[in-house]
């Protein structure tokens, strides 16, 4: 091989053209295609993703489903065991189909809470499809006679929304902080990371509880001047707590990418900074960010449940899984075991969190095969 034949690379035009064509036809497998393929091959993660997408759709379309009101209590049927009754036609029964819209809106407000116009649209669509039919108490009722099935589905909306919003909030803070720190480097980097270390050693749950109770005094001001209601404050506060890991991870990734050989290779080949940023840096950082995002969401959900347990979370009439689980555990008593108020919320929450964890692990394996099997 070392004695290269000088004629070896003397290709005739036809061959050269063919080779060129082949090279053009050859499509490289991008990071994402590769990851997608690996994810599909990882059965548990794939099922977890399908489950999550399905559940997400279900919770988004909650107003369209013929569920009972998640808020209206009925003291005649408190702690009613699950039945497979077919349901009844009582939904908004007091109203005839062509009652005027203001009346309907008022009734809906009573049965739910302030809903967006999209949700109002979905509800009127539901009334067109299902009329006044609503499900039976398939999962039983809670201690105020509210339908558990409906509460779980509607609660999933709040829980998913809170965790998505808070995770996104932590994402924005963490990515900017970490990327800036990694890119600038030197003293500023050192200072910024030491700050993160300091924040790490503060028991944040205490600070958050402290903050949320303090904010309670400023609710009116916040709501009127900043348009922040309790839930938005909630996202911000939780997001502000969970960004630390994200910042560290992003910084590490940026640091290692800055001097990575393929980045240098791209630079040598004359790629513009913008091109390098879009094609090499961002996808590589993005993969690890997505993995951490899927692992942050369950953490936030648990945190929401934790705060709801302490009475600092989402406020009634809105429901969240945390609140339902708290209602369930507080209904435990030695005389009669109302298993359904504990089991069903726990099941919904457990399955979702399990799926998220499995998906997160699977995504990490798919996007970073070197990490496979490591925790």
């Amino acid at each position: 091989m070392s004695t290269a034949d000088p004629k070896r690379f003397d290709l005739d035009d036809a061959t050269a053209e063919r080779l060129l064509r082949e090279a053009q036809e050859h499509k490289g497998i991008s990071l994402w295609q590769d990851a997608g393929r690996r994810l599909r091959r990882n059965r548990p993660s794939w099922y977890a993703m399908v489950f999550l997408i399905g559940f997400g759709l279900l919770s988004f379309l909650a107003p369209l489903l013929p569920l009972r009101s998640p808020v209206r209590s009925n003291l005649d049927i408190t702690l009613h065991a699950p039945t497979l009754d077919g349901g009844d036609g009582n939904y908004l029964a007091a109203l005839d189909p062509d009652a005027d819209s203001a009346l309907v809106a008022r009734q809906i407000e009573k049965d739910y809470w302030e809903l967006s116009s999209l949700d109002h649209g979905l509800i009127s669509l539901r009334r067109m499809i299902f009329g006044s039919w609503q499900t039976g108490h398939w999962l039983g009722t809670d201690h105020l006679g509210r339908d558990l099935l409906s509460r779980i589905v509607w609660g999933s909306r709040t829980s998913i929304l809170v965790s998505l919003a808070a995770a996104l909030c932590s994402l924005v803070i963490g990515v900017f902080y970490g990327a800036f720190s990694g890119l600038v480097g030197g003293r500023i980097d050192n200072l910024m990371m030491r700050t993160v270390d300091i924040l790490y050693s503060i028991p944040f749950i205490f600070v958050v509880i402290f903050l949320i109770t303090l904010i309670g005094d400023y609710r009116q001001v916040l709501e009127e001047e900043w348009g922040l209601d309790r839930e938005k404050v909630f996202y911000l506060v939780i997001g502000a707590v969970f960004w630390l890991t994200m910042a560290r991870v992003v910084r590490g990734q940026v640091l290692s990418l800055k001097h990575a050989e393929f980045v240098q290779a791209a630079r040598v080949m004359g790629a513009s900074t913008f091109h390098i940023l879009c094609k090499h840096i961002v996808p590589n950082v993005l993969s690890i960010v997505i993995v951490y995002l899927t692992l942050t969401i369950p953490a936030v959900m648990l945190f929401e449940a934790f705060l709801s347990f302490l009475g600092l979370g989402v406020e009634p009439p809105r429901v969240s899984w945390g609140l339902i689980a708290v209602d369930g555990t507080s209904a435990i008593n030695p005389l009669r075991i109302h298993w359904w108020v504990v089991i069903f919320p726990a099941l919904a929450m457990g399955c979702t969190l399990l799926a998220l964890n499995v998906l997160g692990d699977g995504l990490r394996d798919a996007l970073d095969p070197k990490m496979r099997g490591k925790d």
């Binding site: 050693s201 503060i202 302490l310 689980a325 369930g328 075991i337």
Partner: protein, 326 residues
């Protein structure tokens, strides 16, 4: 080593300054205080209360008085000098705003041993369960046992601990009346809360142990030990375990922090009069000195636990150089 400890100490001072000043000034800037009642107080009474808690002082003086180390009131440095030291730096967290006859130190003194005991019990649960199941699933890798244990571990992570506590209360208290539902004192009463609190960390520890053991078992010196004809027990317990438990040790710091904060919930469920329940009550009662005291105490605990864990890590793995990090 000394250098490492010195650096840690320095950052500790910075951390504590930040925590103390931020929470102090937040607390002072809040509208409404612990003494707000339905009716407006008589001006004289209000002035009295203000004087009693030094709320009439300028803010900087209040802050210095709170942090210490010198007592600034009439019995302190500038006055009769009966009580020269005071404030957080001398270990005095001041009077509680709500429990009129108690100082924060009294309350912490009562509640801390309870919380500490609960923490120790649950840490023991977590270590015993986590490490043993981790080893078991590493040794039987890929088997049904491994799969079941890993699933259980993921399940343990996926449920909030009050839900798990609910299940366990239904099973072990109502269906099979073995344990008491609440209370604190006897060992029987500690089992269930300790278990509920430790379970999540047991799950994490099991995952870490499994990974660590798998890596340790695949190394050359293990093969040598096996080739020498050592019994599997000796190989696992004497040779593999030391390397395999390293990730576990590094997780103990965060686990301690988590157990300390997780006790907020568990103490409420099982009606345990520990520090966690005091903290939650104090935050909603606006008993700011108590809330701040507990926050500061926990910060100190978490920080020192992390430092101890880092030290322990170097003892176990001499390859790690403390001077480089920190």
């Amino acid at each position: 080593m000394i250098r490492f400890l010195f650096r840690r100490l320095m950052w500790f001072v910075v951390t504590m300054t930040v925590v103390m000043s931020v929470s102090f000034f937040l607390m002072k800037n809040v509208k409404g205080g612990p003494f707000d009642t339905e009716r407006a107080l008589e001006p004289a009474i209000e002035a009295n209360i203000q004087a009693r808690y030094h709320l009439d002082w300028p803010l900087w003086k209040q802050f210095l008085h709170y942090t210490g180390p010198f007592n600034l009131d009439e019995r302190g440095l500038g006055g009769t000098q009966e009580k020269v030291l005071g404030g957080v730096l001398s270990g005095d967290f001041g009077p509680s705003f709500r429990y009129r006859d108690f100082t924060v130190n009294d309350i912490i003194g009562q509640a801390l041993p309870i919380s500490a005991l609960l923490g120790v019990v649950s840490m023991m649960w977590a270590l015993a369960l986590g490490v043993s199941t981790g080893i078991a699933s590493a040794l039987r890798r890929g088997s049904g046992v491994d799969l079941a244990l890993r699933l259980a571990a993921t399940g343990g992570i996926a449920l909030p601990n009050f839900v798990i506590a609910g299940f366990l209360i239904i099973i072990f208290v109502f269906m099979i009346p073995l344990l008491p539902v609440a209370g604190w004192g006897s060992i029987k009463e500690m089992l269930l809360p300790g278990f509920c609190l430790g379970l999540v960390y047991a799950a994490y520890l099991a995952r870490l142990t499994r990974t660590g053991m798998l890596e340790a078992l695949s190394q050359d010196h293990i093969r040598t030990a096996q080739a020498k004809g050592l019994s599997p027990r000796t190989v696992v317990l004497r040779h593999a375990l030391k390397g395999g438990l390293l990730p576990v040790v590094s997780y103990l710091g965060p686990a301690t922090a988590g157990i300390l904060t997780g006790s907020l919930v568990i103490e409420r469920i099982f009606f345990i009069p520990g520090l966690g329940s005091h903290f939650v009550n104090s935050a909603s009662n606006r008993d700011y000195t108590l809330a701040m005291g507990v926050t500061i105490l926990y910060t100190v605990l978490v920080y020192s636990m992390n430092t101890v864990v880092d030290l322990a890590y170097t003892l176990l793995d001499p390859r790690i150089d403390l001077a480089e990090e920190a």
